[in-house]
Symmetry: D3
Subunit: 76 residues, 6 copies
């Protein structure tokens, strides 16, 4: 019954999340030897102003967007 | 001091959440023999594109809405 | 697919947790109109030295045990 | 690698969160003797209709706003 | 900075967790295009008496062990 | 009603946790302008085999102990 919660910056596309949910489920099924229907994946998304490392908000440190620094912007 | 976090699909009405928060608090007070003011209930809501089972996003599997398949739609 | 996480002081009996899991599931099924098999209940137990309110550890404030102050002790 | 998640009512300003993230990181670095870059702070914000104590939704109990009762309103 | 929390039944070996942590990190790095050092994986383990589905504790439903029903026992 | 969950490696002393809980509560009270009794602090402790970064378990990367690399060992 594994429940996998992925906390990440808001802004990924539905396609990316669809792809990632499928890939993570397959990995868990294979490595833990459980049935696919037992596996739950949750995407817990955070605005960058709600995520800080080394005491600095990511909206200050990385500006808008997600993934590598500045490489991807929020979809317009 | 029990803290109850309910993770569910976004879309329930305030009335449903008011009703559920009261009912769950009463159940916890009775079964764990604690004071009502010690009990916290949190609703952690997820869009269906952020919830997957068996590797499939619920927005793909169930479409819009919540609860039983197709039985309830997001309030217009 | 509601997932209910109950964070509470360690020490409740299996009977109490069995009873509470059943009662909470029934409440959620009734109030949210979902199927019982969709409901997951998790007990996330904390030692009292790992829980603080108003800046004071509960192991200091309430001593051993759980529930109402001093009314119940850890099972011997 | 401490990860600090702060669950609170939605509505604090970015300045308050910037200030709190920095202060909490400094406190953790000092008390746990870890490096600042190892510390992550997450703000997990809840609407008041999604937070209940003693069986009552905070949107009913406290109305709009956050912090002390009625002292601060959502920014217009 | 994705943080992946895997909630699962207690009892997997360190080898299984080592293997799963590496595989999940690689999947996240590939699908979300982030650096490996940004990815945190946490195993949040639960005794079967602390996990219930359809109102029934897994210690009652599945007995000891984890993974598929009865196929694996706690390491002696 | 802020709830602060601190996820960290298992092994800190009760004194360190007492000290940290008090300091964090004071910081939150000051920065968010809430009453001390409204603030809950939870320590969610993980064995190092249950925490991985860059795909590597911390029990492999850092060995026993917590805090800075090798600087502190589990209390004997």
């Amino acid at each position: 019954m594994p429940i996998i919660t992925i906390r990440l910056a808001k802004g990924r596309s539905v396609e990316q999340k669809r792809d990632l949910a499928r890939a993570i489920t397959n990995t868990v099924v294979e490595k833990l030897d459980v049935n696919p229907e037992w596996v739950t994946v949750l995407f817990d998304e955070f605005d960058r102003e709600n995520w800080a490392t080394a005491g600095e908000l990511h909206s200050d440190k990385y500006g808008k967007g997600f993934g590598k620094i500045g490489s991807q912007e929020y979809p317009k």
